[in-house]
């Protein structure tokens, strides 16, 4: 058996007076601590090797608050490796020392984060959605509409036009018996312009501006069909869970609790601003096109309103890979296929 021995500072746990000692693992496996006025033999079972981190002072805790402090030398390294029998600790310590692992970790961290956010979070959200009771989802929707009403005004459409829009909505809503408690809310959009979206729990919001933009009520039905596609798949709730998960990941990584405190207040904002992912939009479009076919409405109606919406909002072209939304032209193409 090799000789393991290193100098250390010994603290008796009663006063702050240090003693210089020599520490050795004796043939019986116990720790021999020898210095001026110090003569201790400590069995392995009574000591705890502190985690070694980099070249920071390494410590061994003994019974009754006594402790040993080792400078990070190669002899101390050998001694502590002999005492420490935890493989994971040794592996982590070794990983943390190597520059090669540093570089590998940077790349893997970036890859893991990307995979977690692009694949992990949506998968989690899809599964978690199933666990949310419909009652809670309904309340989330009510909460969302209350919040929205701080920014938009009541609809100014006349009663006759409203009734026509309701009819266009009912036409889609009644063909889906699975979707209970669907509700249409009309609002004067103002700053948010021509727009329609689905809140959790089956509330569909449409702005007057969008109603005015439509040249045929079938176009409105097509838009409703798209929104009901989101409702059917509970996309709003899924999105909410996704953004909460991303906020939590950010919090864990940066260990910054301040991100979390604003989480509660920012959720509705995130929901309405972030919009849906490309996949969600595609699913809702497919749902809409299927319904149009079954109702005998040409897909062109959907394509037409999409194109007009894009012109009205005047959104500049973002390359599709950067955008969470599929480009309108791709969606129009799909509708006309």
């Amino acid at each position: 058996m090799a000789e393991f021995s290193a100098p250390a500072e010994f603290f008796d746990g009663r006063t702050s007076r240090p003693s210089a000692v020599q520490v050795r693992v004796n043939p019986r496996g116990a720790l021999e601590i020898r210095g001026v006025g110090v003569e201790l033999d400590v069995p392995r079972a009574e000591l705890r090797v502190g985690e070694r981190v980099g070249q920071a002072t390494w410590t061994v805790e003994l019974a009754a608050g006594a402790a040993l402090a080792f400078a990070a030398t190669s002899e101390a390294d050998a001694l502590l490796r002999e005492l420490e029998n935890s493989a994971p600790k040794r592996i982590v310590h070794a990983l943390e020392r190597s520059w090669r692992w540093g570089v590998i970790s940077v790349v893997s961290t970036a890859a893991a984060l990307w995979a977690l956010i692009v694949f992990g979070v949506p998968q989690f959200a899809v599964r978690a959605v199933a666990l949310v009771p419909p009652e809670l989802e309904r309340r989330l929707g009510e909460h969302g509409i209350d919040w929205l009403d701080r920014f938009v005004d009541p609809s100014t459409l006349d009663a006759e036009r409203r009734a026509e829009v309701e009819t266009a909505f009912a036409r889609v809503a009644t063909t889906n018996p699975k979707l209970a408690a669907l509700r249409l809310e009309l609002r004067r959009g103002g700053a948010i312009g021509p727009n329609a979206f689905a809140l959790p729990g089956g509330i569909v919001v449409m702005t007057d501006e969008l109603v005015e933009l439509a040249e045929h009520d079938d176009e409105l039905s097509a838009v409703f069909a798209h929104e009901l596609g989101h409702v059917a798949r509970r996309h709003a709730l899924q999105r909410l869970l996704e953004s909460s998960a991303v906020a939590l990941i950010t919090m864990v990584i940066t260990s910054d609790a301040s991100t979390a405190t604003s989480l509660g207040t920012s959720l509705p904002t995130v929901l309405l601003e972030a919009g849906y992912s490309r996949g969600m939009e595609r699913e809702a479009d497919e749902f809409a096109l299927q319904w149009l076919s079954s109702a005998g409405i040409p897909h062109e109606r959907f394509a037409a309103i999409l194109e007009r919406l894009e012109r009205a909002s005047g959104s500049a072209a973002i390359p599709e890979f950067l955008s969470t939304h599929p480009t309108t032209s791709a969606r129009v193409e799909d509708a006309r296929r």
């Binding site: 008796d12 410590t59 608050g65 540093g102 984060l113 309340r139 989330l140 959720l267």
Partner: protein, 359 residues
């Protein structure tokens, strides 16, 4: 300012012992990145182990009179505390989504239990720290914590924030003045008037930073106009770039304020802290700290976070190496408390609340 931040004239026979910090950015970077990777791969579970390793690294590189500090927390205890904190957060978020009344009820409940959490957290942080085998401890009582962290906090909005400096003073008198090293109690002798002076100076810095920020924004807008650039449209790529750039600029400007606050408040609070008869002597240069924090934040933003470990080491090195302690007698004669707190007697309840409550 000066009378508060400079120590008294020392009588003959007092000796000054400097703190030293030997950690390096390159070494800490490798520890940090491995910890980050393991945290992500384990979906956050490893963060408790990462926290212990980080603390042990910083403590183990902080030297006083030839000996380093030591950190004794068990990761399992920290993990438990984080799970409870996560549960409290989830309750808060869920309450906010369900009804505003429920949210108010939850907030009131949290304000009521906050003092208890604060005491437990300060106890935890003290009891897992040691130097030369002697543990720190915290003697703050729940009653005082209730005044500082419930009553004064609730009064804050009613007084339009005018009691903020007073609150800060009470908070530090509590969190620093009730510390104990072994059997030796800390004493906190800063005065509340000095806090008002420091906060007035900080207000001046805040106004200055805002003027500079507005000036920069004005110049950018002017240049853009001269170059005949229309403001970027919503949804366009440059809109997002401008948005992220202004967010980053805000962070950088905020870091200047943070540096001044650390320097001035640190000098005031720590400079009036006694450990028994020994007095701490911080010598922070607030402008230098502001520059350090400014460049740190800038580099962290530019490197997408990869500079973080170097930034943390730079800050720790500056802070530690501008601290010393004026000794009456020597550092060898501290004695441990009757019962060493921590592992057995400290109680598991203290361990679960590892909440970071900074100075």
């Amino acid at each position: 300012m000066d009378s508060d931040s400079r120590g008294p004239v020392f009588a003959a026979g007092t000796r000054v012992e400097r703190f030293r910090f030997t950690g390096t950015g390159g070494e800490y970077f490798r520890i940090w990145i491995v910890n980050l990777l393991l945290t992500i791969v384990t979906l956050g579970i490893y963060s408790a182990w990462a926290k212990v390793r980080k603390q042990r690294y910083f403590y183990g590189h902080t030297h006083l009179a030839g000996s380093t500090f030591d950190y004794h927390a068990r990761p399992e205890a920290i993990l438990k505390g984080r799970l409870i904190a996560a549960a409290l957060l989830a309750v808060y978020v869920a309450a906010g989504e369900i009804s505003p009344f429920l949210l108010v009820a939850v907030i009131v409940a949290y304000v009521v239990i906050l003092p208890w959490i604060v005491v437990k957290a300060l106890q935890f942080r003290a009891r897992v720290s040691s130097w030369r085998g002697i543990r720190f401890d915290f003697d703050g009582q729940l009653g005082e914590a209730a005044i500082v962290f419930s009553l004064l906090l609730l009064l804050m909005p009613l007084t339009l924030g005018l009691i903020l400096p007073y609150w800060w003073y009470r908070r530090q008198r509590f969190s620093i003045g009730e510390l104990r090293f072994g059997a030796t109690h800390f004493r906190f002798k800063a005065e509340v008037g000095a806090y008002y002076r420091v906060f007035l100076l900080l207000l001046a810095v805040l106004v200055g930073v805002m003027v500079v920020a507005l000036g920069c924004a004005f110049v950018v807008a002017l240049v853009a106009t001269l170059a005949d650039q229309t403001p970027p449209e919503e949804d366009s790529l440059s809109y997002y770039l401008v948005g992220s750039a202004s967010y980053a600029a805000g962070l950088v400007f905020f870091s200047v304020l943070n540096g001044f606050a650390r320097g001035w408040i640190g000098n005031l609070a720590l400079g009036n802290t006694y450990v028994g008869e020994h007095r701490l002597r911080p010598r922070f240069d607030a402008a230098a700290l502001a520059w350090l924090q400014f460049t740190n934040t800038l580099l962290v933003v530019v490197t997408l976070g990869l500079f973080t470990p170097w930034a943390q080491i730079r800050l720790a090195k500056y802070t530690v190496e501008h601290m010393s302690i004026a000794l009456k007698g020597d550092l060898d004669s501290f004695v441990a408390a009757q019962a060493q707190p921590g592992s057995a007697t400290g109680g598991e309840m203290a361990d679960i609340f590892d909440v970071d409550i900074g100075f």
